[in-house]
Amino acid sequence: MLLTVVDYGVGNLRSIAKSIEKANSDNNLNYSVKVSSDVNDVKKSDKIVLPGQGSFKACREGINNISGLNNELNESVLNKNKPIFGICAGMQLFATTGYEEKKTEGLNWIPGKVVKLELGESDLKVPHMGWNEIKIENSSSVFKNLADNNHAYFIHSYEFIPKDKKIVSLSTNYGKDVVAAVSFKNIYGAQFHPEKSQNTGIKILTNFLNL
């Protein structure tokens, strides 16, 4: 079984690969994890992880800059129904539109938008950075076996607002409820960093490998 972590020029790729490898070896699974920018690897993969760091616009450009990548992601995810896991801005890219830097089209797999974290009058810091508790919103085959007080590591200044709230698997409270994880068909994503969320993160990645 092949899992490709898509390298489109952004992200803490090795951290992500190492955490998936740990989930794989701790559970005696047989995935080989490859960090790659080669469209053929995405094509051959059984599962895909889409990392993301930097602005929505920069991530979108990163994908556009690799010839054929956008098409192959659409083919793999929408037609072949391969499970994909988006991390942070990688998850945000699933949306229709992003508004970071300038209005940018997303992958448009999950109807919704990505907007600046609006916290009103509060004196909370932005970015929302650090360990926060997750809350279970809707059941998901990836975000399961978790408890309401589990912690996950967040770093973000923008939030995903999906049209359909039923696809929200986890939320976190930061002045208000913020989307922490989504599940829609074969598409999964976390606003937080499972690769940096110790046991909670490894558990989530294990669930993804076990799909």
Binding site: V10, G11, N12, L13, R14, S15, K18, S19, K22, Q53, G54, S55, A58, C88, A89, L124, K125, V126, P127, H128, M129, G130, W131, N132, E133, H151, Y153, F154, I155, H156, S157, N173, Y174, H193, E195, K196, S197, Q198, G201, I202
Partner: protein, 252 residues
């Protein structure tokens, strides 16, 4: 609720952990990979490596340390020291770092922070502000591990760092560093009020009350300490239990 973070910092020289008293008289306190792993298991919220001699020496040593650490630790890892180019940043991120801390290069040219944050995201850009008190209510930036005076005002510089894409500020008091007499709360208060990004307090932690003061009085989002953890005076767990007893939100 978002938790205040406890960050043990490992000063690394030639692949070994050292911690100085005011940056001189260094002692060897062990293997960084091993230590990072102990902190990860002990409940540290992040781990910080500061390559204190990277300005002059080979960068590959720290890359190797980061590489090995990423295999064992699953909490955020920040690496600082000697970062001059976006290639340096990319090398560290590829080795397994999650954030980089920029000091001298940011002071020399704030556009470097701007360019790097555009490329890698503000979330991985920590700007290290090493400040020393020069007169009442005035602090100046120092670079090169505290050896060089710049004449730049610490408050203005922190605001400028935020405006140019810093995701976080690592604020070290050069007056307090290594003294174990507590963080510079006056400085901390001014900086945390001046910027809207998180500030990590550094320099001066000698006991657990100091950490509490930095968060409660100073407004720090995170506290960084070295000696009190390295020499086993307090474990991360004891630290967090103490803070929790004082109603500070921590991840336990």
């Amino acid at each position: 609720m978002l938790k205040n973070r406890i960050i043990p910092c490992l000063d690394v020289k030639n692949g070994r952990v050292v911690k100085g008293i005011n940056f001189v008289d260094l002692k060897d306190a062990g293997d960084p990979v091993e230590q990072a792993s102990i902190y990860d298991k002990g409940g540290a919220d992040e781990i910080c490596f500061l390559d204190i001699t990277a300005s002059n020496e080979n960068r590959n040593t720290i890359i190797d340390v980061v590489n090995k650490t990423a295999e064992k630790c699953f909490v955020p890892l920040t690496v600082g020291g000697g970062i001059r180019t976006t290639d340096n940043i990319r090398d560290l991120l590829l080795a397994g770092a999650d954030k980089v801390s920029i000091n001298t290069a940011a002071v020399k040219d704030i556009n470097f922070v701007k360019e790097a944050s555009k490329k890698f995201g503000t979330q991985c850009m920590v700007v290290a502000v090493d400040a020393k008190k020069v007169s009442d209510g005035k602090w100046e930036i120092f670079t090169h591990g505290g050896r060089e005076k710049t004449g730049i005002d610490a408050i203005e510089f922190s605001k400028k760092a935020e405006a140019n894409g810093a995701g976080e500020i690592l604020l070290t008091s050069m007056d307090k560093d290594g003294t174990k007499t507590g963080y510079d709360l006056e400085l901390l208060k001014i900086i945390t009020k001046s910027v809207s990004i998180p500030v990590i307090a550094s320099g001066g932690a000698g006991n657990l009350e100091h950490l509490y003061e930095a968060i409660k009085t100073g407004g720090a989002s995170a506290v960084l300490a070295a000696s009190i953890f390295h020499y086993g005076e307090f474990t991360i767990k004891e630290t967090k239990e103490y803070l929790k007893s004082k109603n500070v939100p921590v991840r336990l």
